[in-house]
Assembly symmetry: C2
């Protein structure tokens, strides 16, 4: 036997800036020109966001000298599929994108995740720029390089790690969001507070009304603090081998809940809120989370208008769906459980009856 | 404006072994168990290869304790599509693969490239093992981590970089190959000789009959030398920012030729042989390749039974298709041209009339 060892060098480090300010959309062209110069660019948006912001984004890109190829996908998580990604790939490949062509996501998390996967797959990886237009996307999907699409058997099961070259968050775009969308973004912000930063949790408690009203100063501060938390975690663990898993607090429950209830009936942030309550109850039942912290968590989720209970939840279906999550290893669930506000831990041995009880608690 | 800089660390280096020997297929289970232990594994093969080797591969994997999920794709480049990849993704996601589940490609380049892309995309990246059963896949696709599928507008335009955990080349599997497949593999071997290693070129000249007869010693030596050349190039440039482009000798012409002629009418290696002739003629016309080296190249391609001319080639269609290749930057073709047997260079300024003349020369 002949054996040849292939030794691949370490990939170089990557750095990118997340910019947060009202009115940033008009600087998209100049920033894209700086981070990914090319004759043309591709931009993906959805049917909700495009009527508000695509023309402005296109104008900014054209002013900076880009020929702009655009593709508008239908709005909604149910369209975050390989079939939709395939249609976007067709648009850009038919238009002869080259290796330097940046691909820009203008929209919420669905647009960002799907467009990032398209950018990762086009010619084995094109430069990617995120322009999140929802609070949820700004504090979650736009940082960290996790891109992908959903599958019938679960969310985000097809994807890649593909870091953006730049992220531009124009918080003025949040003003056209329905209040429900702001609340869903807050579910992730509260999660960040619980797992990592008690002072952020307090900041949200003290600024609920300003945040819900999209006050520019409060919103910029909120987004910046959350992005910083997520960035520090992702920097330590870009491919989720360890600490990054903490960001999944509420998500293994949440993914299963939204899959069971139906993506058309519950928003992602609402499912994460329910998942956070379930994880908190489970932790409290094990005496690893103080009761008063659990109550503060439930109170804050309620104060921002997020659901903390779900009548008629199919417990057994949700329970079995949890085992299709990416956080299953050797048939065992890996759950993130809070130990106090500001700290959480990864737990791999949880009694199945306690998981069922936590789900059951959501129905009352 | 608030700006948060995200600084991602360097990815760690990766090492894997390419093993070459007759009879290796029976060791697949033990090797998979070593590089990617898990309760189950996925294996993809095609309708040509599966009847010969899937049962043996499955037995080896089951003996090592794996539960084996298999998916057989239709044979042929025309099935190397996102639609086929989607069907394979469905199989493995419906079977609840986990992050540790290795995905194994058993077959030629189409199976390897498509399966690698599936492995890269499943849960954002599962361990991948290559078992090439053709000479072409053994010396080319199985080393280097380039995975992907074709698009209507060109080959390999949708994909990823995903390095295997191990490559097992059982050269005994080459014996069931049609002679045309061996010749196609030799096109890439001759290419390696031209761009990097004159002694390999001579080795092939001196062993044509043994190689075509799949003599175990000659074949093991041939594969090992070629894998070593490709490995050294890929190690220096895993993401094709520089020297790795040399491996594209004959491929920008070749991809356009096979696209124009039709994938059902010409094999990849045959198109690469024609592309190598065209690149050689272009280089000779510019006086950058000695005439006698051009003649030796054409003579060796002929000696192994590869085509060196293509009657009725649509020159203009082939020419314009060349500009849809991944090696176009700012509308300019980047071509690889030999300067002597054993050396080639990247050339970005080539007169379009010379490219047309090189294509024209193939039709006489």
């Amino acid at each position: 036997m002949q054996t040849i060892s292939v030794q691949l060098p370490a990939a170089p480090p990557a750095t990118y800036d997340v910019r947060i300010a009202p009115g940033l959309l008009d600087q998209l062209g100049d920033i894209a020109r700086t981070v990914a110069p090319a004759p043309s660019c591709g931009i993906v948006s959805d049917a909700n966001v495009a009527p508000h912001y695509l023309a402005r984004a296109t104008k900014a890109l054209e002013s900076a000298g880009f020929r702009v190829l655009s593709h508008i996908i239908p709005a909604g998580e149910q369209h975050k599929t390989l079939a939709t990604a395939s249609a976007v790939l067709d648009t850009f490949l038919n238009a002869r994108v080259e290796r330097a062509t940046p691909i820009i996501a203008l929209g919420g998390g669905v647009v960002g995740d799907l467009t990032g996967f398209v950018a990762a797959s086009l010619l084995r990886g094109l430069p990617f720029i995120q322009v999140p237009t929802t609070l949820l996307a700004a504090v979650d999907a736009s940082v960290g390089g996790k891109v992908g699409v959903d599958h019938a058997t679960g969310k985000n099961l097809i994807g890649a790690f593909h870091q953006p070259r730049a992220v531009l968050t124009d918080i003025a775009t949040f003003k056209t969001l329905p209040p429900r969308e702001i609340r869903c973004g807050l579910a992730e912000c509260i999660k960040h507070g619980i797992i990592q930063d008690a002072s952020l949790f307090t900041f949200i408690e003290q600024n609920v009304q300003k945040i819900l009203a999209c006050d520019p100063a409060a919103m910029t501060e909120l987004v910046a603090r959350n992005v910083a938390i997520k960035a520090r975690i992702v920097e330590q663990d870009p491919h989720e081998h360890g600490i990054r898993a903490l960001l999944n607090l509420g998500h293994t429950f949440g993914h299963a809940i939204e899959n069971t209830v139906g993506y058309e009936h519950i928003a992602h942030g609402e499912a994460v809120a329910l998942g956070t309550v379930a994880a908190g109850r489970l932790a409290a039942a094990q005496n690893s989370l103080p009761r008063e912290d659990l109550e503060k968590i439930i109170a804050l989720l309620s104060a921002v208008g997020l659901p903390t209970s779900q009548k008629n939840l199919d417990i057994e279906k949700t329970f079995s769906t949890m085992f299709t999550d990416k956080n299953v290893r050797g048939g065992k669930l890996r759950l993130i459980l809070p130990t106090k506000i500001g700290h959480a831990e990864i737990v791999t041995r949880v009694d199945e009856s306690r998981i069922r009880a936590a789900l059951q608690s959501l129905t009352t």
